[in-house]
Symmetry: C2
Amino acid sequence: LSSTRRPSERRREDSRPRRPHHDLSRDEHKALTRQALLRAALRLLSKNSFDSISLREVTREAGLSPTAFYRHFDDMEELGLELVSEAFSTLRDMLRSARSDPSLVEDVINRSVEVLSDHLEAHEAHIRFIARERHGGVRRIRAAIAKELAEVTGELAGDFAVFPLINKWPDEDRFLLANLFVEFMTGVAGAMVDAEPAARAGIAERSQRQLRLIVVGVTGWKP
Amino acid sequence: LSSTRRPSERRREDSRPRRPHHDLSRDEHKALTRQALLRAALRLLSKNSFDSISLREVTREAGLSPTAFYRHFDDMEELGLELVSEAFSTLRDMLRSARSDPSLVEDVINRSVEVLSDHLEAHEAHIRFIARERHGGVRRIRAAIAKELAEVTGELAGDFAVFPLINKWPDEDRFLLANLFVEFMTGVAGAMVDAEPAARAGIAERSQRQLRLIVVGVTGWKP
């Protein structure tokens, strides 16, 4: 008789003390499995590019069966798009807190590179994924990254209004500068993830001096 | 009896008019096969990243057997390194002719981007390969690209001596600028290969204006 009962009914009858993960609701358990798949993919992507890893490799790395994958994602591209969105969500959090940091306005050159270095230390796998897949082999992922970078660029063009000089510039020129800044910082991030940790300070220092040259350009710019 | 003769002996006896590829020497034939493998790999790499394509796919695309591959390359990495070296060889040819082009010194901003666009039109597959594998999944290929870019940067720092202003700068600052320029142009090239052909003129125009801002920075720079 008991075998005809649904698992949820059986679980409700169980009155023994439960082990931690039995305490999880169905939704919580589902979210954990989804996270396990994303984390497993990100681990594999620290060495390989996205179009070289298979669904089977991801589930094996996560200790799950291939069928478990399909309860969370339609295919590998959907998982990849989720990673893009995760990576830019943490990047936006960083930009949001940078916006309310007065030291950044006072010393935009040094602090920008410092903020990027700190972010990279905390989210290296995400940044490497973006640097690698930005021009990678999957068109939809390239397009998603380009879209996110365009949004960040647009927001930054708005943020530049706090600087008296740029404040007076036409929108087009502010966008031009925001794009130059985003491209520059993306390049710096790419160089840093590829470098040995010991070489990163040197890249940071060089980038700060280059940013200084760009700022000299900004102060002399006639829109 | 004839079946015991070596193919080369049989060929020498053959007095019929020969088809063109029978005229090729053994070395010429070998070079052609090598080229067929490199071209086949480059075709596959127009869509996929390097670590996602297999030796078997390359030989199939070239219409050769997998064993034929090993007469030319030890493994796929060796083929990849050859593609890096090919791509930078055409890039250096371009830079060499740019060096002797007076219009480039007169109008470095517009001409630099034009020269890059022309080069990209002629060597799109190579440029895409470099943009993609620069941060790609194969360490030795990333390292080879970084080394080539560092050499181009060093040469460019020397070339900058033709500009009176930069001529007086210490080597370190000239290198800083050369690195900024190479990073900027690499970014532009990456954006162009990913864009629809119709969008490339817009990227070129934006890049020229951004390069103008950098040049304003150069004129105001205190080394």
